[in-house]
């Protein structure tokens, strides 16, 4: 089976600071592979273990994404492909899907594309469905379990009011939830081996696109950004007998007038 995993080297939102004027400081924010994309990777490995085949990881992002993709190679991907985003992350999900689709087409066919439910930074949940539409394949979102049999995929979807079991013919695109599995942590041995696995860096031109083309395709324009710095009082009661600690808390809450209105 030919599996493609789409993984974003995303900004770690926990590391974003807000400057005194209320603007988020987005330069030099550390990045990591978006959490749920590791669940997608783990799901790919489980399928490969059962059915054989290859796992190719594809990312659209900054050159530094190489570091994140190494981690996925160490987990068990066979090859990684990075299409370098020249825009510093300003393109929307439509442009991202376009770049990923071009890369996936260059790789030849696929049986299954795996994505995460949504990314940790943008949290759009759009790239998967857009990619499925662009490539003309069915999509299954919010999958919390997956099996493949006789060219079809059966997944259980986690919707807010129901679990829905669906069957789709391959090729298809699936986006997984965080609950589908627990991503493995690569061993040191696997990390060392990963440095020898094929890693390919493509410019947009290598996949038949240009920066101008993508910027035109990008459907969203940013008007303004405003950070919320929610300042909490951070009073921590510790090393006290429980009854004493609780009385102290209750008196604070009375002072705040949030009790017994």
């Amino acid at each position: 089976m030919k599996i493609v995993v789409c993984a974003k080297y995303a900004l770690d939102p926990g590391e974003i600071r807000i400057d005194p004027s209320g603007k988020p400081m987005l330069d030099r924010v550390p990045r990591k592979i978006s959490d749920i994309d590791k669940n997608a990777m783990e799901a790919a490995i489980n399928l490969k273990e059962k059915h054989g085949g290859t796992i190719q990881v594809v990312a659209f992002g900054p050159e530094s994404a190489r570091d994140g993709l190494k981690e996925l190679l160490a987990m068990g991907a066979d090859e990684a492909y990075l299409v370098v985003d020249p825009s510093d992350g300003r393109l929307d999900t439509m442009a991202t899907a376009e770049a990923l689709a071009a890369a996936i087409q260059k790789l030849g066919g696929f049986d299954l594309i795996l994505c995460g439910e949504a990314t940790i930074d943008g949290y759009a949940g759009q790239v998967g469905p857009r990619l499925a539409e662009k490539l003309g394949v069915p999509q299954v979102t919010y999958a919390r379990s997956l099996t493949v049999e006789d060219g079809s995929l059966i997944a259980e979807r986690d919707l807010e009011d129901a679990y829905e079991k669906v069957k789709v013919p391959l090729p298809a695109l699936v986006s997984v939830t965080r609950e589908i599995n627990t991503p493995r942590i690569p061993t040191l041995m696997a990390i060392l081996k990963a440095s020898k696995k094929p890693f390919t860096l493509w410019k947009l031109e290598d996949v038949g696109l240009s920066r101008e083309q993508l910027e035109q395709l990008s459907g969203i324009e940013l008007v303004d950004m405003q950070g919320f710095a929610v300042e909490r009082k951070r009073v921590v009661i510790k090393d006290k007998p429980v009854e004493e600690a609780v009385e102290e808390l209750v008196s604070y809450l009375f002072k705040e007038k949030v009790l017994g209105a």
Partner: protein, 322 residues
């Protein structure tokens, strides 16, 4: 078919969400000299024109097609795309249920347009609609504009109130091409959904993985009851363990109580994203290093199984009349 007026189309498979979207669409339409319209899709559709009109729809576009039996995203994309092609709306609002959230981007891709996910507010500047959404796990509010037409946006359920007013809706039946979807729904297992509107609760007592069994949530229930509040949970408690259907956080409910208790919750940024509107946050956690203490006003470092019973006792004493 397009008519002169600019149209804001609203669609949700959930009737309440559709009413909320319509109410908001009517208000927004007023600012761009346009009108709000609803879309109803299904194998057979029964349109309550009076109700839809009262909530804001001037027109109700109806597509009836055998392929629209059960929500299949491919078929629903075909249908909405067909409606958009004929109506040529300015903006398409789709309820951000999970079904809506997978429909909107597929539709937007086919329309070759931008889609703002989980939009929490609209502004009109120079006759153009701008949309606000929260990014970076709740830390940043971003004002965005869709460059092309139509714009697509998803809107969280229960964000806007449904508001009735004078208004009449006219039904318009549309013929659109809907192909047979490749996917097949094998089984639907409904979840037991509680009717609690946690986003409106004044007090929320939220439990995380520090709580060992479903049974133990009774302790949280007792605290919530004394304070006239509701019980909530973190995502793993609902999505992994299945003890509840809804959770609080980035991918769940956003709450804004006066008083929020995080009990045995570590305080991951995605959890905190759902509680930023709380006035006072109280954390109870046995780990002094738990990140939740940095996002709390008051915290007790201790075992929740000791702290909660003592807190319940104390509150019972203090809150007694007199």
């Amino acid at each position: 078919m397009a008519g002169e007026a600019k149209t804001i189309l609203a669609y949700s498979e959930n009737p309440d969400t559709l009413f909320e979207l319509l109410s908001e669409a009517r208000e927004l339409a007023g600012k761009i000299q346009g009108e709000a319209a609803a879309v109803l899709l299904g194998e057979k559709v029964e349109a309550n024109l009076e109700e839809l009109g009262a909530y804001g729809a001037s027109k109700v576009y109806i597509v009836e097609n055998p392929q629209l039996k059960g929500f299949q995203v491919e078929a629903y994309t075909d249908a909405l795309y067909g409606v958009a092609e004929q109506v040529k709306p300015e903006l398409i609002l789709i309820g951000a249920t999970k079904r809506g959230k997978e429909l909107a981007p597929r539709l937007a891709q086919r329309l070759k347009t931008g889609c703002v996910a989980e939009c929490v507010g609209f502004e009109v500047a120079d006759g153009e609609i701008q949309m606000k959404r929260i990014v970076y796990a709740g830390k940043v509010s971003s004002l965005q504009k869709v460059k092309g037409k139509p714009a697509v946006a998803t809107v969280p359920p229960r964000l806007f109130e449904k508001r009735k007013a004078e208004g009449k809706a006219e039904a318009v039946s549309l013929q659109v091409e809907v192909k047979a979807p490749k996917a097949e729904i094998l089984e639907v297992k409904p979840k037991e959904v509680s009717g609690v509107r946690i986003e409106e609760a004044e007090v929320v007592v939220c439990g995380g993985r520090g709580i060992k069994s479903k049974e133990d949530f009774k302790l949280l229930g007792e605290l919530a009851e004394i304070l006239g509040g509701q019980v909530g949970c973190s995502r793993p408690i609902a999505a992994d363990r299945g003890w509840f259907t809804e959770w609080v956080g980035l991918s769940g409910k956003k709450v804004k109580p006066t008083l929020y208790f995080a009990v045995g919750v570590s305080g991951a940024i995605q959890h905190v994203a759902g509680i930023r509107g709380s006035k006072i946050v109280v954390a109870i956690n046995k780990d002094p290093e738990a990140p939740i203490f940095a996002d709390a006003d008051y915290g007790i470092v201790g075992d929740l199984y000791k702290v909660l019973p003592a807190l319940i006792e104390s509150l019972k004493k203090h809150l007694k009349k007199g």
